[in-house]
Amino acid sequence: MDALELLRLNLLSPMVLAYFLGVAARLLKSDLAFPEALYTALSIYLLFAIGFKGGVELSHTPLAVVLLPALFTLALGLFRPFPAYLLARRFLRVGREDAAALAAHYGSVSAVTFLAALTFVQAVGDALPGFMPTLVALLEVPGIVVALLLAKRKGGRMGEALHEVLTGKSVVLLLGGLLVGLLSGEEGMKKVEAFFVEPFQGALTLFLLDLGMVAASRLSALRQVGFRLVLFGVGLALFHGALGVYLGLLAGLGVGGAAVLGAMAASASYIAAPAAVRIALPEANPSLYLTASLAVTFPFNLILGIPLYHTLAVLWGG
């Protein structure tokens, strides 16, 4: 499959189309709106299901196989805040707090970007290690912690923010789901796969419809913040994405796994990081980091990034 065909394949999946539909609905000022409870319910379902599937896979994967990918993912998590922080200071010319806030977002991971990449790679037909969700859990937290440390030297609400990160609902659901899957194994999977596995992509489609609406309502903020933020969000995604693909191949994840790790590395958090940053760095401007993460980097990855990282993985490792 060539790059254009990949792009087409990605653009015409129900998930990406539903995202566009959401954007269109908001731009047309439709009264379509998801109740907050539906949004929360879908995100609880998706996060737990990702974790659970990862756990079940892990239950029949030898530790030796996971070790290297896990270490590389951890390294990615610890490293990524630095380029983000520097780029924010130098290129966006924002203050310490805003830079650290952006670093926290680009140091963590977007579970939905991960899922979109997974779906894409499966549609392409590549083999894929089963433990990828484990890596998502590993990538989520460390970057946020590093970024907060970058901003604060002394006291403040650091402790509270750390607690918020570690016990935040996305971490609890991902890691908790992982444990439940790990302990209940294939036996458990058989009982609940008609709920957590089969309808999963459809639920994701509905979630992306809502996410499209949320992102579109950020577009006006984008106009205020300016074009530099677009460059920042895309540039960082490309750099982190390439790095992720490279490390993924090095870690032996194969083309499919490397493409997914690339998409994970390229993504920016919009669940765990905002909550932590709002507490630890209240002076940072939410408009900046939410717009960058949600209205620039997320759609870029969803639409162009994922096929790109895949092409890169084929090029370097195929």
Binding site: A33, F34, E36, Y39, D210, M213, V214, S217, Y270, P274, A275, R278, I279, P282, E283, P286, S287, L290, L294
Partner: protein, 100 residues
Amino acid sequence: MDLVPLKLVTIVAESLLEKRLVEEVKRLGAKGYTITPARGEGSRGLRSVDWEGQNIRLETIVSEEVALRILQRLQEEYFPHYAVIAYVENVWVVRGEKYV
């Protein structure tokens, strides 16, 4: 009937602050509080239902002294960085002695 004149303090704030605000008002002397979900718009723009988390509307019935303490604290600690609005009004409360 015993109606006691007291102060009703209302705080509208981003919902992320809920846990902290509840601790504050209790620490400063409130005997109880009521929270309703809310959304709104102010100087910091629209606080939508979806993303940045919605607002909460916290009400607490307290003595004048406690009311002033709460508002003072909000002004110093929360107004600079967070989306908050706070006001006080006069109410007459059934069995009001419970709340002071």
